[in-house]
Amino acid sequence: MTLSDNRVVFKALVLVVVTFFAYTSTADAAVNWGATARGMGEAYVASASGLEGISYNPASGGIIEKGEVVSSVSRSSQNSVKVNYGTIGAGMRVRDYNHSLVVNRTSISHNFNNFDLTTEGLSLDYSKDVYYYNLATGSKSDHEFAINLKYFSVDSSLTGVTASGRGFDLGYLTKLSDRTRFGVAALNLAASRDWATGSEETIPREIRAGFNHEADFGWLVAGDVVHHEMDGLASVHLGMERWWILEETDFEFEYPVAFRFGLEKRLVGQKDANVSLGFSLRRNKGNFTYAYQQRSNFDNRHIFGYTTSFEPFVE
């Protein structure tokens, strides 16, 4: 069987599995991450590019020409409670496929000192990791297919509050025209966690679908909808992005700079709307990204990301 035949078989397999499972979710088990996506209000399923985007759309892993290393950190806080998020990963192309490994951690550490007499001295340490293996066709063509194999791990200081599990995501990206892309991802398929208490948790599925379009006025405009297995249509996301080249003629430097804006509207639960904004600054093979995300329930979130690409970024 030739390499070309392998690619056809892989794509066919992905399509069959997407069709078979086609349906949906939200899960606390996996947290989406990436400063670029956050700056765009998480309207990112069609704009996903590289390792930053694989939690939104696995096909994002296909947009790596040679290799990439990614990192991201952020924190949510509310009074004395701090929830930390961190991600690190690397990916590279081997022949016509991209292979990536990424780990995302959510952690919380809290003690109840000076809370009230009955809780004095209690404490809680909790962390949950999601390990991603991303396999993408990496064709840089009009169609990108990919799969995330996920392993969940939970550790804590509390007896029984530990778990492990697995699941997978499927993603697809395509060009509808030279200026328009469409993306769709089915997340948390066949996903579950086994807790040390003996209970098994089925992680609800989720479908994200969206587009982006390079408008005449120079901005990239993106929109996503998210459908959760338990909640139905759960959220709508809108985002905008534009790149400029800043030139320093005295030193012949060129700094590509991006600005982003986003709006996220939740349609279930609190039904709140939050805005976000962000920027990126590229220098040689490095790309620094910052995002600010308004949060109705917690302090506003600041997300920092840094990506190193082993080849020049594609403008």
Partner: protein, 114 residues
Amino acid sequence: VDASLADALAASKDFGVVVFGNKGPGSSSTNSSSPRFDPTQGETLKVIPPQSSGATIKVFSLKDELVFEESSLTGQEVEWDGSDLNGSLVSTGVYVVKVTSGNKTKTFPVAVAK
């Protein structure tokens, strides 16, 4: 965790007390030894406000999504039985709880262990 609820209430007139692992409405259970409860065993998270106040409890997932919300009238307790806004039990894991009681707001994590 040796203090009784009465002692704790007396010492915390501006907020009240929080009880992890309370077994059922009206129960006088004391706090468990860790910030957790098992809703499948009838345990709840209970907030006992000062007598002159009610309490409001909001529960969030670590994805910052509102999971549960309830308020009580003056002098009444408020409980979270581990259910979400649809009435289904939440999954095992840690949640962030924001309680307003008396003239104070406190936020803390709690583990639901089923």
